[in-house]
Subunit: 168 residues, 2 copies
DNA sequence: TCCAAACCCTTGGATGTCCTAGTATATTGC
DNA sequence: GCAATATACTAGGACATCCAAGGGTTTGGA
């Protein structure tokens, strides 16, 4: 890890905003910038843990999603919707997972347009091991206080609902 | 925007975690996943606003940083440290900004290793206009309640400090 | 019935991020 | 003073994301 900066760059940005007369939006700017940076930190941690398994976060997410599907298989478009990424991102991830022998593409029984992604036994085993590693190395040491975790889930859940992620 | 899902996929993931006996880390997993998704939503909004200016978020951040520097110029390594991205990412952004005539590379007066990035007049003007657009179209309508913005700044600030971003 | 519209997946291209390695310049230590 | 180490930037490569466009399959309305 690099040497810590002497000052918080996001707090400084907020001061700059206020100095320029944008005080009304300085706080949301700081919050949004902090989310961007936090995501970057967390992603780096996660990828660091997954690397020994030959996985990236994108591929892990797909593997995990499949492992929770009753049949161990999902249509690509369904995976795209649930992971909330562009269909081409799923195509990309499946290409690599299939190349590694972790998933298989198979035709949908009734809809010729649709392709099913199916976990192989190897894929299921790797998903299990990778999840165990993430649980113990990242999620169990998230760096968030317990009440803060609840706050985050509440705040970001409201945000995501308002952004149109889900209706529920 | 795509049709909202009937259910929150992150809440479902949390339930899956609990069902598999990982209740102790289910909440942090959900919080971290929510951060990833929120970042994705915010980034898409920001890039949508910046697109008409011919800017991406990475390039905008660099322009904004320079516009707050007293001299309008910064060494590349300083920009890299303040933006907390890899030096090669700064090289990439500077290449494109320079190609668009928004910044200029100039040699450091005393250290031959260092390259200074300097805003052009055009760059300064564009930074101002882009900031105004982001302020009114994104930050002023962040979708977070005012108290939640404060909570986010507090929670993520603590997290970033613990992660080694800054010492202060 | 049949064709247009809708839907699903893939290909190709643009960007951004990181890592590794290489070149050039400074600084340190003997 | 000079060699070894550290620092600064860039080139090349691997991945991920999105968008635009294309080809195949289904669906729905005339």
């Amino acid at each position: 890890m690099a040497t810590p900066l002497p000052r918080d760059p996001i707090a400084d940005a907020r001061l700059n905003w206020e100095r320029h007369g944008w005080s009304d939006v300085a706080a949301p700017m700081a919050a949004i910038t902090a989310i961007m940076r936090t995501q970057q930190i967390l992603l780096a941690r996660i990828e660091g843990i997954l690397k020994p398994f030959g996985l990236t976060f994108a591929r892990y997410e797909l593997l995990a999603l499949l492992s929770f599907a009753r049949s161990g298989a999902l249509p690509m478009n369904k995976a795209s919707a649930l992971l909330q990424v562009h269909p081409t991102s799923v195509t990309n991830a499946v290409d690599r997972l299939q190349g590694a022998g972790l998933v298989i593409r198979s035709p949908h029984p009734t809809d010729g347009r649709t392709t099913l992604i199916e976990l192989t036994q190897e894929g299921r085993t790797l998903a299990k091991r990778a999840t165990a590693a993430l649980n113990s190395e990242v999620f169990a040491q998230s760096g968030f206080a317990e009440q803060d975790v609840d706050q985050l889930i509440r705040i970001l859940g409201t945000f995501r609902r308002n952004a149109g992620d889900f209706s529920e």
